[in-house]
Amino acid sequence: MKAKYLTVLTLAIALFASACGKSDADLTKAATDKLAADKVTGVTVKVEKGVATLTGEVADAAVKSKAEASVRSVEGITNVTNSLTTKPLPVATPAAADPALTGKITEDLKKAGCEGAKVTVENGKPTVTGEVPAAKYATCIQVIQQAGVSGGVDNKLVKGK
């Protein structure tokens, strides 16, 4: 009986020791390896008392979120401070001058069965008014967004029946 308790105690101590056995340096390496395995680049990890801090510049918000999830999955890391920044984006240029874009979108809308939608483009930014059937609504918005505009759609389109 006594021997059994001793075994349990020994096991518990061994487990505890191994859990504490991962030093911050080990965890930093494990996290860095995990990022490399998940093909996330440009991230520097520093672990202090089990808390990982991520720094560096990554391509976009999806990479930022993926990096955090990767590091969080490393055993022994208790929390992640995500200080990653995302790369500044180049500013878009419109595919064509405003009248040409207006003409193209009007034509595209017609082809897609969105005759009820009226579009005007100013400085690459489209404004849409009018009314289209509810079933066509998403398609009509899609047509405008795919035309090469350089500003968000000022959407005043009405969803009809």
């Binding site: 918000a61 609504y137 090469g148 500003g151 959407n155």
Partner: protein
């Protein structure tokens, strides 16, 4: 919250379903996602996610400009619908299944029986 953070699930979905994309910033600060989807279905998934995040697309903070890869019907073969056409009739002209045309045009069609003269259908050949 930046537009990138707002639409992060959309970008994650694009990475997951094989859509390649590039980000630029619009002249009014909108996030522009320009990319190529491997199939009409993948593209539709992105639009569904966009609609989930911005139900009537009224925020004006995202431009989702996703085209289709050549193999998915983006290769330039198109058919302009004429009066009397049906998907099966068009399909037989090109020696393909009507469903292939339906799949390649899910972005502009709502129902396989509803096509209209003047519509340009992508023909996946």
């Amino acid at each position: 919250m930046s537009a990138q953070e707002k639409y992060v699930s959309l970008l994650e979905l694009a990475n997951a379903n094989g859509t390649s994309y590039e980000l630029t910033e619009g002249t009014d600060g909108a996030l522009i996602v320009t990319g190529t989807a491997p199939s009409a279905e993948a593209k539709q998934q992105l639009w569904d996610e966009y609609e989930r995040l911005d139900p009537e697309f009224r925020s004006g903070d995202l431009i989702l400009n996703i085209g289709l890869a050549d193999a998915a019907g983006g290769g330039g073969h198109t058919h302009t619908v004429e009066s009397g056409d049906s998907l099966s009739k068009i399909a037989s002209e090109y020696g393909i299944q009507w469903k292939a045309i339906w799949d390649a045009n899910r972005d502009i069609l709502n129902h396989p029986d509803k096509i209209y003269p003047g519509q340009e259908l992508k023909i996946p050949i």
